[in-house]
Each structure stands twice: as C-alpha cells, then as structure tokens.
C-alpha cells in the first residue's frame, strides 16, 4: 500500500517536472536564472539600484538592472512583431535594423525643421506628426516586405534581403546623408528620462506596447489566424481565412513595432548615424524569438517567452560588457557560444535523446522487475 502511493507520487512528480521542462517558458527562465546567479557570484553589487541625481540635476534610478531593462526596450518591441511574423510566414524579417534607420531618419527629417525653443503645444504637435509619419512609412515598408512574401511567395528572409541591402542607404537618402543632431532637450525625453520621473521613458513605452499587443491577442482572432496560417496555409484558406492578408498584416504590425523602435533610438541620442544605428538588432531579435522556444518554421507561438528571451539577450550583452577586458566588438564571439549552447539544449534532437535515455532506463527497470518475479 505504502509503496503504491510512493510510486504514484513519484510518477506525478516526474510528470510535473516533465511539464515544466516541456513548457516554453522553461528555457528563457533557466537562462535568466543562470545569468542572475553568475552575476551574483562574480559581482555581488551587480543588482544595486540607486536613486541618484543625473547630470541635469533630476533624480533618476541607476544601476545595471535599470540599464538592462532600459536598453532591452527596442529588442522587446521588435521581438513582439518578429514573433508574429515568424508564426504566420515561417520566416524572419532581417531588414528590421535597416527599417529602424529609415524610421529614425523620417522622424529627424521633420523635427530638424523646427526651431529649438518652440512652445510646448506646438512641440507636442510636431512630435505627434513626425511619429505618425514614421509609423506610416515603416508600415509601408513592412507592407512591401509582406507583399513580396504573401503574394509573390518569396521566402521571408530573401524578400527582406532587399531592404536589408538598400534600407540604410534609403535612410541616408531621406536626409541627404546629413549629420543631424537635435538641440531641443525635450526631444530626448522619449529615449531617456522625463524630468521628475526616475524611470526611463522607453520602459513605459515597452509596457504600453506589451499591453496593447496582449489586448489585441485577447480580443481578436489574430493569434488563432496567424498560427493556423503558419501551420498550414492552404487548409486555413479552405477554412475561410485569407492567408495572404494575415501574412501581410503581421508584416505591417512588425513595421509599426519598428517605427516605435526607430523613434526611441533617435530620441536616445538626438542624432542618427545611418550605418551604425540599430546595427545587428535583427539578429538579436531573431535570437530572442528562438530563445523563447518558438518554432522558427512558423506555427504556434508564445509572446511571453519571446519577450523574456529578449530580456535574456540584453542581460547577456550587459553581463559581457561588464568584463573590462572584453572588447565591445568581440562580444559577439562569446554571445555566439552561449547562443549555440542554448540552441543545442533546446533542440528537439537533444530532448529526444533525453527521452530515449529515460525510456530505455524504464524499460530496463521493468525487465529487471519481470526477471525478479520469474525468479
């Protein structure tokens, strides 16, 4: 009797762990925990958060954790759009970095025309106009990518290769390759701090974006539709979903996400460098999606784990920057090693190996038990 219950409880515990391991959130959370533990050991003061006066005299929060959450904003917003695109079209958009340059350039094109000390209401109007225009422009570029993918059936990575090559040049062309820097301090509020609020503004923008996308997914059929299109486009067409429009829509949504990122990016520095802005961010965004355990071949997705994945990537980057002897440009080598390890751990191949091993052990146990009974 007692042994019976024991076996049962053990079984349920095993099931419980199995469930956890199979959960999509498992990998990003484990990676995050490992990073936290590593940082705690190497530098106990890593998570110190302080309220200090900044160079402009306002009280702001400072600390590594704040830096991570602040710098991850763009990546998180991009990861949201990238997850949707991955889900619906089974491919990734590699032009996001270049489109961010275009969006940022569009914003600056409008803002640079104004005098630095216009009154508040006029300034707000200008910001709204420039933001709307940048959203429209990026959405159009997103639609261009989406049309190539949806209507011409070109693989997403190849279709976006066009903008990847031409995007930064278009961004430079929008502003005649001028070096623009905005002197108005208020323009920097969106990428840094609003006086009086100690939390960086991009964090609020990110939270806002996450809430909006969560509401959209809750109250519309977007999740269902994009997943079904990603899993089987022709059968979802037979069920009355228009796969082309869904694919186009996800690319447009990604375009809007890119516009927000571009706006934050140019606001952070109040200037733009066409060849450097948001460099390699497309790789990070794709990695965030992959790290979140989403199938890069399309289909089911989990936005929460993508967002967590984005934070993990940024955490990793910041952790690597902490080592003074590591050159900022050689960081990618270390990142690559970590990423390969994570992908190997999360791969279906290794999981299958583990499960096979488990099954074999159980089979051996059962055989041994049978042998004992016979004896």
């Amino acid at each position: 009797m007692t042994t019976d219950t024991k076996v049962q409880s053990k079984g349920s515990a095993g099931e419980f762990f199995g469930k956890i391991i199979r959960n999509q959130l498992f990998i990003p959370i484990v990676a995050l925990t490992l990073l936290v533990i590593f940082n705690l050991i190497s530098d106990p003061g890593f998570f110190k958060i302080a309220l200090e006066p900044s160079s402009t005299g306002n009280l702001i929060l400072s600390g590594n954790l704040i830096t991570i959450i602040d710098n991850a904003s763009e990546l998180v917003i991009l990861a949201i759009g990238m997850t949707l695109v991955t889900s619906a079209s089974g491919g990734q958009d590699i032009s996001v970095g270049a489109t961010i340059a275009i969006a940022g350039s569009t914003v600056l094109r409008i803002v640079k025309g104004y005098a630095p000390d216009i009154p508040g209401s006029q300034f707000a109007g200008m910001i709204i106009v420039s933001f709307l225009l940048c959203v429209v422009v990026s959405a159009l570029f997103g639609a261009f990518n989406g049309a190539l993918v949806a209507f011409f059936k070109i693989q997403p990575m190849v279709a976006t290769l066009i903008l990847f090559t031409a995007g930064r040049s278009i961004a430079a062309w929008i502003n005649n390759n001028d070096n623009i820097s905005i002197n108005d301090k208020r323009f920097g509020y969106f990428g840094n701090f609003i006086p009086g609020i100690p939390v960086p503004t991009p964090v609020f923008i990110t939270i806002f974006c996450i809430i909006v996308i969560a509401l959209v997914l809750k109250f519309t059929n977007l999740r269902l539709y994009s997943q079904s299109v990603g899993i089987n486009a022709s059968s979802s067409r037979l069920n009355g979903i228009n796969p082309k429009m869904i694919k186009l829509l996800t690319f447009v949504i990604l375009g809007v996400c890119v516009a927000v990122c571009g706006f934050i990016k140019v606001s952070r520095t109040s200037s733009i460098t066409y060849s450097v802005i948001a460099n390699n961010i497309e790789m990070d965004a794709i990695l965030a999606v992959a790290l979140g355990g989403n199938n890069l071949g399309g289909g089911k997705f989990n936005l929460t784990s993508s967002v967590l994945g984005a934070y993990v990537i940024q955490f990793l980057t910041t952790t690597l920057y902490k080592f003074k002897e590591i050159d900022s440009s050689s960081i990618s080598a270390y990142k690559a090693v970590v990423v390969i390890l994570l992908i190997i751990i999360s791969s279906p191949f290794v999981r299958k190996l583990i499960e096979d091993f488990k099954n074999k052990r159980e089979a051996a146990k059962a055989e041994a038990a049978v042998g004992k009974e016979k004896a």
């Binding site: 990734q92 066009i162 090559t165 430079a172 062309w173 794709i286 890069l296 050689s330 080598a333 992908i343």
Partner: protein, 349 residues
Amino acid sequence: MSVNTNALGSNKLKRRASLTDTNLLLIITIAVFIVMYICAVLFLKKGFTKPQMFFNILNENASLLVLSCGMTLVMITGGIDISVGQVTSLVCMACAVHLEKNGGNVFTSILLALGIGLAFGIVQGFLVAYMEFQPFIVTLAGLFFAKGMTTIVCSDRVPVTYEPFVKLCRTEITIPFLGSVNKKGIYVPAYVEVGVIVALIVVVVLFCLLRWTKLGRNFYAVGGNNQSANMLGINVKLTKFLAHVLCGLCAGIGGYLFFLHACSGSPLHAQGAEMNAIASSIIGGTLLSGGVGNIAGTLFGVLSLSTIKMIVTSLGLEDAWWTNITVGVMLCIFLLVQSVILARKNNKK
C-alpha cells in the same frame, strides 16, 4: 537504330523542357549582364571601352566569386550560409597576424586559411545536417563567432609587409592581345591578379562537380525533395554536410583571395559580403527553396552585380547609398521574375 533515334528524340524533348526553368533564369542573367555592359560601353565610354575595365571587375571580385559559388552549393541543397562574409574577415586577420607577427610563410598562411574555412564548414555542417538545426540560426551563430574572433585576434588594421607575400599580391598576369593605349600613347596590356586565376579554377571545378559527378547530382536531388532523395537511397545528411563543408572551404579560399587583394587584415574587411554572395546567387538563378541553380549563373550573377556597382560609381554618384539602392532594386526585380516563373511552373503541374 530505331531505338537510337527514339533516345535522341526524347533527349531533345528533355532539353526543351528544361529550358523553361533553370536555363531560362540563366539566360535572363546572361542577357542582363551583356545588355548592361553594352549600355555602359555605349553611353558611359569613360573606362568601359578599355578591356582592363572588365578585368578590374574580376580583380576586385575574385573573392566574392568564390564565396558565391560556395553559397550556391549550399542553396542548391536548400540551406543557407550567412557566415561566409565574417569568415572571410577572420581569415584575412588570422593570415595577416600569422605573416606579420608570428613569422609564418606564404604556404602555411594558405593552409591556415583553408583550415579556418574547413573548420567552420565542418562544425556548421554537422550542426545543420546531423543535429537538424535550422541553417540560418547555426550560421548566424557562426557569423557572430567569426566576427568576435576577428577582433579577439587583433582589433586593429594589420598591413602586411612580408616580402614574398607582397610580391605575390603585386603579381600581374598580362592577357595577350588585349590592352589599351593610355594618355601618353604607351600601350598598356590588360592584366589580372593571381586571385582571379584561382577563382576561375574554383568555378570550373565546382561547375564540373555539379554537372557530371554523382555528388553534384545528389545536391540537386536533396534540394529538390528531401524525402524522395532519401527514398532513392541518397544519404541526405551526408550530402547536406558535404555541401556545408564545401561552402566552408570556399569561404576559406575566398578569404585568402580577399587577403591577396587587400594585402592586409582588418575587422572591417568583407562587411556584408554574405549578403552580396546571396544576392549574386539569386541573380544567377539559384532558387532559395533549393534544387535549382547553376555555377555558370552565379558567375554571371557576380559579374552583373559588380558591373552595376561599377556603373553607379562611374556615373559620378559616388555616395555609397546609390550602389546599395540599385542592388536592392535589381534583387527585387530578379526575385519577382523568379516567383512568376515558379508560379507558372506550379500552374502547369
């Protein structure tokens, strides 16, 4: 006798049928290149009338040519390798440091370059073929790794002053009967660099490999349909693995050719070369879905791409952005043509 004629007839039929897809893309590419070059000669005149202009295109793009050929192989099997550009950069840096600081000679530096390329090819090929990871993700990690390693080896530009190597860099092989008269009225024969000869040899070898060997035909079979290739008894995993290894080797060779041309190592070398290689392959008629492609097409893809760049620079639009925009537009047009052709092919079925 009658059997013989029958076979001949079916052969002809086959030829006509195959013209619709693979060869059509190839013919379009060649036509575009020739039309573009003739237009350049007619309207721009400046340098394009001289034969040297054509050989300069080859001189500057020998490394890209080899990289694109490797890329074509992988793309035919349905994969992709985006690490080649950074591997090129790593090879340049490693060889430069090897020659300058570690006292190596030319022969060992060549071995080093091939070794680096092979190492990347083998590791990535193993992960893609046997561990079944997505090629994009694996080679993305490879790209990151190579990029970081380049700066770890050395973060500054390393010019090479090692005497025998510089001599090799400067070697110019003159082409008989082609040349032009310069401003002073002296006849200057056209020349190519050593790298071009190597690149052309690689092109010919890979062309023969794809055309007439079992392995080459296996590449097409695996790319065309994974499962049916498997059922035909082709070792799909090994074939994919070998494609990546060959691509890695090409990256090594291409890296060394870039090194020969630049005569220095720098973390900024070959930035974005992988995208140029993919673009040339696509323009040359390789389908990304796999199964269709041709090394000859890739050769003309590289030539078209570099001719566009040459034309844009000689038009006086020296700002780099015009090159990128024209390349983007051209890529777009070729992709659309490809997609239309594919759609027609599917409709026929």
